[in-house]
Amino acid sequence: MSKGHLRQILLITDGCSNKGEDPVAVATLAREQGIVVNVIGVVDDGKSALAGIQEVEDIAMAGGGISQIVRAKQLKQTVQMVTRQAMTQTIKSVINKELQHILGDDETIEDLPPEKRGQVMEVVDELGETVDLEVCILVDTSASMERKLPTVQEALLDLSISLNSRMGSNRFCLYTFPGKRKAADKILTWTPDMSSIHSVFSKLASGGVTPTGPALREAIMSFSKLAKRSRMDHADTFTEESGV
């Protein structure tokens, strides 16, 4: 949570990766850089279990995020809940670290008496409302996902309505995998508003392989591109100012 930013990758998939490096390793790498990885596994309405269920959990655990297995129907609420809960969790873990500095031992928010806990939660809620959020969304568009894509699109639009009702700023970017040439294709570059994804999902090509690991790597890269871009924005304003 550097400079009041929360960074998340949201991976939406329906199965096991079958190409490239281990996604669990890449998720661990993401966490090392302060990027939380959340994973939502989408199952078909008929089926009860997902082949890649273990992988979904492992990636989220390695990435310090939250995992959830849902049917396509529940996707809308889940995307929202997972993003929110992961934000709260990140903020809480930062506060827990601070608490341990002050109180020592393994004191966490949960060990506080209810009154004190309430005060801490107020701070957590406050931060969750005001912190700036960057979410890189990674959508699996392999053949089996095709029918679920309209639902995914609606869920993402709904997510942007919710997050944009907060006081803090938001930036989203969207990648789909497998890409045409690379592991993942950038569909939407960093933007505060996702309403433009209406058109992008229609022109997707669905392929057979699922390179989850390499796709996650692309997602990590997107954050450094964003950082570079905002640094350049800063530089621009700086030269403008000094030019006057």
């Binding site: 310090g64 995992s67 873990s93 928010i109 409302e129 944009n164 009702s165 907060r166 006081m167």
Partner: protein
């Protein structure tokens, strides 16, 4: 610290279970479940103050946030808007520690049930009561958020709508976190989820729509047109078209403004008009009329018999 969302694990606390708070030591004996949601459940319980409602959750943070809201509520409450908060504590069991709070148990009839039994003519009256309370809440800087019939209960007589679950109440200007699609402005694509009076008023309009037929439906391609057409064509809703439209489109600046319009309209419709009277009451009237005729015939017959006997 890996965290998985709890997998809708049903809260199953058998009646008779004693719940003892870890911090304050108060004791509660579970009577029966009252309802459950995504992350928690509410139970009726005996306590030293009599019957109370206990809300449990697997998510301590969630309980802590709700308690914060309830605490602030009790501070601003002139007359009781939501249930009063009694106690906050943790319950340690073999299955883990659950956070809970004890609040006032409000006895009454769920709003939907009440209007179904008494007829739609009661709907605008309950909505007027609701708008008055909402106006108070908004003036204190809060927005209800997850406003829906399930969170409303009718107490009395005299009949009065009260709020059951105020867990979704949000400070003005922040984002609404808890909502139910049918009553959510964001779902219908008719605005943001920012906590402002118009967010609640949209939900109020949707409650009226829900009360008319006890029906909820999904959005179509043009949700705004869909809703307005539905209201215009509906026998029970059409008289309130202007007020509902105003609330749906965010035209009302406050709950008081909507209430004033609705009050005017309701004064004009109640009693004078049988548009909103149920067919049921009409058939009932017919039956009553039949009863009177039969009774009159019987009396006449008895009289003739009496006269006949007397003459003989």
């Amino acid at each position: 610290m890996p965290t998985h969302l709890p997998r809708n694990r049903a809260f199953d606390i058998p009646p008779g279970t004693m719940v003892t708070g870890k911090w304050h030591g108060k004791q509660y004996q579970i009577i029966k479940p009252l309802g459950s949601g995504g992350q928690g459940a509410v139970f009726l319980a005996h306590s030293e103050r009599g019957r109370v409602a206990l809300k449990f959750s697997t998510d301590q943070a969630n309980i802590a946030s709700e308690v914060n809201v309830l605490n602030k509520f009790s501070k601003v409450r002139g007359d009781s808007l939501g249930p009063s908060l009694y106690d906050v504590d943790d319950w340690t069991t073999g299955r883990g520690t659950f956070a809970f709070y004890a609040m006032e148990y409000i006895r009454g009839t769920p709003l939907l049930e009440c209007v179904r039994v008494r007829g739609f003519e009661w709907a605008p009256i309950f909505i007027l009561q609701l708008l008055k309370d909402l106006d108070k809440l908004h003036r204190e800087g809060w927005v209800f958020g997850d406003l829906k019939p399930e969170n409303l209960i009718v107490t009395g007589p005299p009949l009065k709508v009260r709020w059951l679950d105020v867990g979704g109440t949000t400070p003005m200007g922040r984002a609404i976190k808890e909502y139910t699609e049918f009553f959510d402005r964001g779902y219908w694509g008719m605005g943001t989820r920012k906590a402002e009076p118009s967010y609640d008023l949209f939900a109020v309009a949707m409650i009226m729509i829900n009360l008319a037929d006890m029906r909820r439906f999904e959005k179509g391609d043009d949700p705004k047109k869909q809703l307005l057409t539905y209201v215009m064509r509906h026998r029970k809703l059409a008289p309130f078209y202007d007020e509902i439209k105003g609330a749906l489109t965010g035209a009302y600046p406050s709950a008081a403004a909507m209430r004033a319009d609705l009050l005017n309209k309701t004064n004009g419709t109640i009693g004078s008009d049988d548009r909103i009277t149920n067919r049921k009451t009409r058939t009932k009237k017919k039956k009553e009329w039949k009863g009177t005729v039969i009774l009159a015939c019987a009396v006449l017959f008895a009289y003739f018999m009496y006269v006949a006997i007397f003459m003989m």
